[in-house]
C-alpha cells in the first residue's frame, strides 16, 4: 500500500511565524502535491512537483513556497503565516498525475 505521511496532524502558529509542513511518500512516486481544504471550497491546489527540484504553481500559490530536495519528500513553507492560512493542508503523491494518494492532513491554526 502507498503510504503518505505528514509531519504533524495539528499545528498552532502565530501570525508572522515561518511554518514548515513536511510530507513523505514511500512509493517512489515522481509527482507530489500540496492542497488546502476549506469548508465549502473543496480541495485547492497550492503547488505540485513532478521531479526533484522541480515545482509548478497550482491555483493558489500566493503566500506559499515549496521545496523538493529528495524524491520522497515535499515541503510546504509559509514564509510569514497569516490568519487566512488557517486551514487543513493535504499532501498527495502519484505515479502518473492521475490517481493521487493522500496523507492524513495537517490542521494548521494561525492565531
Amino acid at each position: 500500500d502507498v503510504k503518505v505521511t505528514q509531519s504533524s496532524r495539528y499545528l498552532v502558529k502565530r501570525t508572522g511565524e515561518k511554518v514548515f509542513l513536511e510530507c513523505v511518500q514511500d512509493m517512489d512516486h515522481e509527482n507530489m502535491f500540496w492542497y488546502r481544504q476549506d469548508p465549502g471550497l473543496g480541495l485547492r491546489l497550492i503547488y505540485f512537483s513532478y521531479d526533484v527540484k522541480m515545482k509548478e504553481k497550482g491555483d493558489i500559490p500566493e503566500g506559499y513556497s515549496v521545496s523538493r530536495e529528495k524524491k520522497e519528500r515535499f515541503s510546504l513553507i509559509l514564509e510569514s503565516a497569516s490568519t487566512n492560512q488557517t486551514s487543513m493542508y493535504l499532501c498527495a503523491s502519484s505515479e502518473d498525475r492521475t490517481k493521487q494518494y493522500f496523507g492524513p492532513g495537517t490542521r494548521l491554526t494561525v492565531t
Partner: protein, 112 residues
C-alpha cells in the same frame, strides 16, 4: 476556467439502499475523472476513476457513470452501509493533464 460541481451537498440514505452522488463538470475536453471518499479526520481515499473513452466502470459495490453529452458524472454505491458515511469528491483532469480540479464535495449520511 474549468469547474467541477455537485448537485447535492448532503445526501441521506437508509442503510441497504443504493446511493447516487452526482457531479457536473464544465470542461468538455477533460479525459479523466476520479472519485474520492473522505472520512472524518482522514485524507481523501481513492474510490474509482474513469477515462472519457468509457461510459461506465464498476468496482466493488461502486459504479461510476460518465455522460459526456451533458457533462455529468455520477457515483453509485450499492447496498449502502454505515461505513460509507463520508464526504465524496469528484475531480477532473485539466487540459494540460497535470492537475486535478476538485468539486466541493457531497456528504453522504447513512441512516441505520
Amino acid at each position: 476556467g474549468e469547474s467541477v460541481g455537485l448537485h447535492l451537498p448532503t445526501l441521506s440514505v437508509q442503510e441497504g439502499d443504493n446511493s447516487i452522488i452526482n457531479c457536473a463538470y464544465s470542461n468538455s475536453a477533460s479525459d479523466y475523472f476520479i472519485w474520492y471518499k473522505q472520512e472524518s479526520g482522514k485524507g481523501p481515499q481513492f474510490i474509482i476513476d474513469i477515462r472519457s473513452n468509457m461510459d461506465k466502470r464498476q468496482g466493488q459495490r461502486v459504479t461510476v457513470l460518465l455522460n459526456k453529452t451533458v457533462k455529468h458524472l455520477s457515483l453509485q454505491i450499492a447496498a449502502t452501509q454505515p461505513g460509507d458515511s463520508a464526504v465524496y469528491f469528484c475531480a477532473e483532469m485539466n487540459n494540460a493533464g497535470n492537475m486535478l480540479t476538485f468539486g466541493g464535495g457531497t456528504r453522504l449520511m447513512v441512516k441505520p
